[in-house]
Each structure stands twice: as structure tokens, then as C-alpha cells.
Symmetry: C2
Subunit: 225 residues, 2 copies
């Protein structure tokens, strides 16, 4: 019999394991309003999953504003403040904890890879109430944020697994584009607010509703618990 390599999972955090996308979106809107830039909220939503350093100038430009370096710093800082105010309303997505624990118990390796900052990642992972200290890669560990593949390649190296054996799980098209660039298959979850079609057009290998739906469908990916 041919030996088949075990897969490993690389999980995005915001919108994939944690129900935090909509709070992030409105925190960005308020931050921009504070520097007198009114942005349409859906345009922010469609850029979520990029790091703040990429998102802020891009969304501003789409609305006809070129941010100065000072404005970019201000808006990033205000976003962080407003997001922390809404953190109490951020919950794990349905099935997130069970999925991660189930994979761990079955010996399937996984790691979390986020564009967010370390402090925010730690607060979010705390909400998942996982046993032990799960491995994660965050913005401080890389020089390029998604959709650059560096964060996922760093995550694979952390696991000691070849990228070709990794499956990215993400809710944003930027996760799926970065996964493709990293030579990984990508699974899309609609629970971040992107539609199935948007995820499929960004090369999702499969699309599920949320972590619970992925958990119930692992056999479709050739993973048996």
C-alpha cells in the first residue's frame, strides 16, 4: 500500500474561528469617521482579512482618499481602540472549539495563522477555551501580511509539515488567495460574511458554513477522526 501523508490544518482566526468580522468592520468605520473620512461599510467588509496596514489605505483609496502616513497610523490605532470596546460581544463561531479539540485528539496537526497582532490573537484564542497553549502565527512573526503567503508558510514551518500537505481554512478571499500562493489547498467558510460564490471564485477547494459544518464534513477532505 502507498503511504499517504497526513494533512495538517492552518486556521485563520477572525471570521473563521471567532465571530469578530462585523465588530472589526464597524471599528474601522468609526476610526475613519474620526479623521473625517466617511466610508461605505461594505467596502471595509470586503477588505477584512488583510492586515490593517494594507486595508486602511486601500479602502480609503477606493473612496477617493489618499491617506498620509500619520492618518494611517491614527486610523489603525483608533480601530484597535474601538475594536477592544466591542470585544465583549465577540464569540467563538459555532463548533470552533469542538473542531480544534477533535482534530487534536485524532492527532491531526493544526496551527492558527492570523493577520492580527499578538495581543489581539491571544485575547481571541482565550475565548476559544482550548486546553493547552495552541500554536499561532501573528503579524509580529512576519514581514508581509495576507494575501502574501508568508503567514501560512511560517505556520507550516511551525508545524514541520510540507505546505503541499496543509489545508488553509479561512472566511476571506484573502485567505484563499494566500493559500493558493503558498501551494496549499484552501477551504472557505461563509461565516465571515463572504458568499459561497465569492469564495469559490477565489479558488476554494470546498466551502462550508462554519466550523461545525466543516467538522461534520471532514471526510469530504479525506480526513477521518
Amino acid at each position: 500500500m502507498t503511504e499517504t501523508p497526513s494533512p495538517a490544518f492552518v486556521f485563520d482566526l477572525d471570521g473563521t474561528l471567532l465571530d469578530s468580522v462585523y465588530q472589526h468592520v464597524l471599528a474601522w468605520q468609526r476610526a475613519f469617521a474620526e479623521i473625517d473620512i466617511d466610508l461605505a461599510v461594505w467596502r471595509i467588509h470586503r477588505r477584512i482579512g488583510m492586515s490593517g496596514a494594507l486595508l486602511a489605505p486601500r479602502v480609503a483609496r477606493e473612496s477617493g482618499h489618499e491617506l498620509t502616513a500619520d492618518e494611517r497610523d491614527t486610523v489603525e490605532q483608533l480601530h484597535g481602540e474601538y475594536y477592544r470596546e466591542s470585544l465583549e460581544w465577540v464569540r467563538p463561531l459555532p463548533g470552533a472549539r469542538d473542531l480544534l479539540v477533535g482534530l487534536r485528539e485524532a492527532g491531526v496537526p493544526w496551527v492558527i495563522a492570523t493577520s492580527g497582532k499578538r495581543s489581539e490573537a491571544e485575547a481571541h484564542i482565550g475565548k476559544l477555551e482550548l486546553p493547552g497553549d495552541p500554536e499561532f502565527v501573528c503579524s509580529e512573526d512576519v514581514t508581509h501580511a495576507k494575501p502574501h503567503p508568508q503567514v501560512f508558510l511560517t505556520a507550516a514551518a511551525r508545524l514541520g509539515v510540507d505546505p503541499s500537505q496543509c489545508i488553509v481554512v479561512g472566511d476571506a478571499i484573502w485567505d484563499l488567495l494566500a493559500g493558493q500562493r503558498a501551494g496549499m489547498l484552501s477551504v472557505g467558510l461563509v461565516c465571515g460574511g463572504y458568499s459561497r460564490e465569492e469564495l469559490e471564485r477565489a479558488h476554494a477547494f470546498r466551502v462550508y458554513l462554519d466550523p461545525a459544518d466543516l467538522h461534520a464534513s471532514l471526510d469530504e477532505l479525506g480526513v477521518t477522526l
Copy 2:
């Protein structure tokens, strides 16, 4: 020459003229959390555009909760309170005012048709800073909310225009389904957070980004200003 009837527009309000969808979504999440029901936020987003009386039990049921009549009343009332708290962040969508004023000046009739309550509709329409008191139909004017066609048929009657000459403009698939049921063509706008594909699959005649994009594309609909 054959005389061609003039078209008339029936505009949805939340997510179509006003950038209020994301604030509504998080107000519902907080309202449900208050009665100890944690809901995934994207599921609420995908029901926005239905009236609260339809949305609340439906979203709860999707997450395994059957609301009592008391719970439904409580959650609707809390949603209203939390939404009003965030009203200061609600802005007109790009081009909304110019579109409505431009149509009015060109003699193209239009009316606003919302599932929202009269008080909320008035506060929203105030933000558009339109000249005069624009005609609108709201939840108090009908017994059935979208996707039932009653609100759009009432709007057409208000204009004295045959439904077949009305074009619905909405951001939610519920607007487009109600438009189809009312015998009207429907235009979808992605500025409420639904994707182009979701709107097209709900029978959108055409899809545009936001009111400004629709304004620039009116000739595609056979409307010349």
C-alpha cells in the same frame, strides 16, 4: 411612434440608500445575547431586509432556538434600543441623495418602501437631507413585510403607477424576491453586503455597486435624465 410608459422607482431604505445594515446586524446580535441566545452574526446579516417580526424567529430557529412570543417582543424591543444607540454612525450611501434629487428633477417618480417602522424611517430619511417630504411606505402601512410583495404594491399604488412599470432597487435578496412577486423588475445594489452572485440568483435584472453607480448607469435601464 409607440408611446412608451415612464418607469418609476421603488427604493428600499436600509442598505440601499442608508449605510445601516451592519449597525442593524450587531444590534440584533446584542439583543439576542441579552436573552442568552448566541447567534452567529453572518446568519443575522443574511436575514436583514426581512421585518424584525420575521427575522428574529427565523434566525433563532436556524440556531436551534424556538422563540416564545415574549422573547420575540423583548428581542425586537432591545434591537430597536441598541440600533438607536448606533444611529449616529449611520450615513447615506454614496450618491443616494444625488440620485433621488436627479430623478425628481427629471420627473421620474420614486417612492421609498421599507420594512422598518415609521419613526426609524423618518430618522433615516432625515439623514438624506432631501428637499420636501418624500413619500414613503413603512411597516405600519402594511400587514405583511418583505419578501411579501405588499409593501411594494402599496408603494406603486401611492405613486399611481402600474406595478409593471416599477423598478425595485434593493440590497437584500428579500427585496428582489418581493419585487418579482409584485411583478416589478428589480435592481440589486451590493452596498448592503450581499454579493453580486447572490443578488443575481434572486432575479436581479441588473446589479450595481451603490446609488452612485446606479445613477451613472440609468441609461442601461432605459432611463434618461
